[in-house]
């Protein structure tokens, strides 16, 4: 009995790694891939050129080599790395939030159609922005696309929640099927709009819809910054509520959670994350599925760990996938969506099979 008493006094779940250590490891991982992403590229410019590039960008030197280094490191690789980090963090957390909201580890914005809804709105904005929608789109400037995609994601998520509420506790199959239907509908309408677009728009749209970070720029980084701040503000307000949802909606209420408020925040934060990510990088699947899953395997389902952890690990994963996308067929590029699907699809399959065998209730 003495060992048990000492265990009580210890006061920590012993099967899980300590939270601080886990976050530190994840941050180190993120730092390493970020540095790699800055150092690797088809031009062969390494990090040793960084001081020179910084000097050039601050105007201390007008040397041609320094100017080239500056262009590659500061204007190409740095915004690309930052954007990859944002997209990964946004998709990782949006997956974790949707899984918490729907109480379903298979919920992923790509799988349940939220990304398609966001993409539909973005595509409509790209194509119609030069035509009938110009008076609305033009004043929004660089924010037009993220705002449109956010709105599209929001409508899709609300639709999914409405379908969920109709059936009370949503069955796993219903959510996925409804999501597939919504996604297919959004994709079909997107197709119709693309059909009406001209050649230049078409090329942009096709490449973008496969998911790519090749168009990364500081402008896009600035465009998603407000979204990153908003999501960072909302997530700490969600963790307790979503932890209550782990037990069920009624149970969350019994535990003192304002369930409607939690749902609203989760919906808005998810749509903001997916919308902004889709706006700058197109549809990138599986990040929201794989990343929270890996974190839950390590740390358990506590959203105080899973949500921020998914942001860091998602950022690291997408930066890593982007490095691969840039290097495999260098100097050409693979769409990053393809790289991530190659990693993510097997994990999805594994999850489906494990559920099928009754791994979880």
């Amino acid at each position: 009995m003495t060992t048990f008493d000492s265990k009580i006094a210890l006061g920590r779940a012993s099967v899980r790694p300590a939270r601080g250590k886990l976050f530190l490891t994840l941050l180190v991982l993120l730092l390493v891939v970020a540095v790699l992403s800055l150092a690797i590229g088809p031009t062969g410019i390494s990090l040793q050129a960084l001081p020179r590039a910084l000097a050039a960008s601050l105007g201390y030197t007008t040397d041609a080599a320094a100017a080239r280094d500056r262009l590659v490191l500061i204007d190409l690789r740095l915004p690309r790395t930052l954007l990859a980090a944002f997209v990964g963090a946004a998709l990782g957390t949006s997956g974790a939030m949707m899984q918490g909201l729907f109480r379903n580890p298979l919920a992923d914005p790509g799988i349940v159609g939220v990304s398609s809804g966001a993409a539909l709105a973005a595509i409509a904005t790209i194509v119609l922005g030069h035509g009938i929608a110009e008076p609305i789109v033009a004043p929004l400037g660089i924010y037009a696309l993220p705002i449109a995609a956010f709105t599209g994601g929001l409508v899709t998520t609300i639709l999914l929640v409405a379908i969920a509420a109709r059936h009370g506790q949503l069955a796993v199959g219903t959510l996925l099927l409804a999501g597939i239907a919504i996604g297919a509908l959004a994709a079909a309408i997107s197709g119709l709009i693309v059909y009406a677009s001209d050649d230049r728009e078409l090329r942009d749209l096709t490449f973008w819809s496969m998911g790519s970070l090749s168009g990364a720029s500081w402008q896009k980084v600035f465009a998603v910054t407000p979204f990153a701040i908003a999501i960072g503000f909302l997530i700490p307000r969600l963790t307790r509520g979503l932890n209550g949802f782990l037990l069920g909606e009624a149970e969350a209420m019994h535990l003192g959670i304002d369930t409607e408020r939690t749902k609203r925040i989760a919906i808005v934060a998810t749509a903001a994350a997916v919308g902004a990510a889709v706006a700058v990088a197109g549809i990138i699947g599986f990040v929201g599925l794989v990343v929270p899953h890996v974190l839950r395997l390590i740390s358990g389902p506590d959203n105080r760990v899973v949500l921020p952890g998914s942001a860091i690990l998602g950022a690291a994963l997408v930066i890593f996938a982007d490095i691969i996308a840039r290097m495999v067929v260098s100097p050409a590029e693979l769409p990053i969506g393809i790289v991530l699907a190659l990693i993510g699809a097997p994990v999805f399959l594994h999850l489906v099979l494990r559920r099928g065998m009754g791994g979880w209730e």
Partner: protein, 273 residues
């Protein structure tokens, strides 16, 4: 005291509760019994603050539940639902700790774990804390959820004299005899330690054995209340359940209720008519 006063609950045109008044008091274990569809669970959910009464009110120490913010309500009552599904893999300790960490009582995880371990001792699962919850049997899982409810009440900040209520919906459904006894003993201990306990239960014999008060419901109304001895009488029960019952008294004075078996003579008698 947690009190339902003339509570009416309607869903559409259907009346689920037709003016029910019942009060549970600290130190007492009150059992709600009655046939399927009598409104037992609806009453529990209304008293938990989960369902808003269409009419009437639920009062906690005289204050209408509608005026309680949901977070403050969580300091005063905890609920064990009929079935709780976990969609994610938890350890037993993690599931119980949620009772202290989700409500935001402002206690540290270390203290939440201490409270959770004490709750696990109370339900006899102290050696299970690192087990995954989906590997447990139904009875063990039910006890985990009870431990979570205990953990919530034990860590909640309350002023002296404030009622702490524990509401349980069919906690012994699908359990074998051993686990029925264990779970109800834990629940009984809670009432003996000063909690107001409300228990929805199908098994009349268990109600007779453990409850201080019994409330018999039918068709959204209360049709009988009192001590188990008073309520569990043949006329009332036969009429309420719509079948013939055999009622005995055990050697220690507790009621025993069984559906009356049709004897061979009755069967042949009926055939002869």
């Amino acid at each position: 005291m947690l009190e339902a006063r003339d509570v009416v609950v309607k869903r559409g045109a259907k009346v689920l509760l037709a003016g029910v008044s019942v009060a549970i008091t600290p130190g007492q274990l009150t059992a709600i019994i009655g046939p399927n569809g009598a409104g037992k669970s609806t009453l529990l959910r209304a008293m938990a603050g989960e369902l808003r009464p269409t009419d009437g009110a639920v009062l906690l120490d005289g204050v209408d539940l509608r005026t309680f913010p949901v977070a403050r309500l969580a300091t005063r009552r905890s609920v064990v639902a009929q079935s709780t599904n976990l969609s994610f893999p938890f350890t037993v300790l993690e599931a119980v700790m949620l009772g202290a960490t989700v409500p935001g009582f402002g206690i540290r995880d270390r203290d939440a774990a201490v409270a959770a371990r004490k709750a696990l001792i109370a339900v006899g699962l102290e050696s299970f804390e690192d087990r995954m919850i989906h590997q447990l049997s139904g009875g063990e899982r039910q006890r985990v959820h009870i431990a979570r409810a205990l953990c919530q009440l034990s860590t909640a900040p309350r002023r002296p004299g404030e009622t702490a209520a524990l509401l349980l919906d069919e906690p012994t459904a699908n359990l074998d005899l051993k686990h029925q006894g264990e779970v109800l003993t834990v629940i009984k201990e809670q009432s003996l330690s000063g909690r107001a306990v409300l228990l929805v239960i199908h098994d009349l014999n268990l109600a007779a054995a453990f409850a201080d008060d019994v409330v018999l419901m039918a068709n959204g109304q209360i049709v009988g209340r009192g001590t188990p001895h008073e309520v569990l009488n043949e006329d009332l029960l036969s009429h309420t359940y719509g079948c013939r019952l055999k009622i005995d008294t055990s050697s220690d004075g507790r009621r025993l209720v069984l559906p009356a078996a049709i004897t061979r003579r009755q069967r042949t008698g009926a055939a002869a008519e």
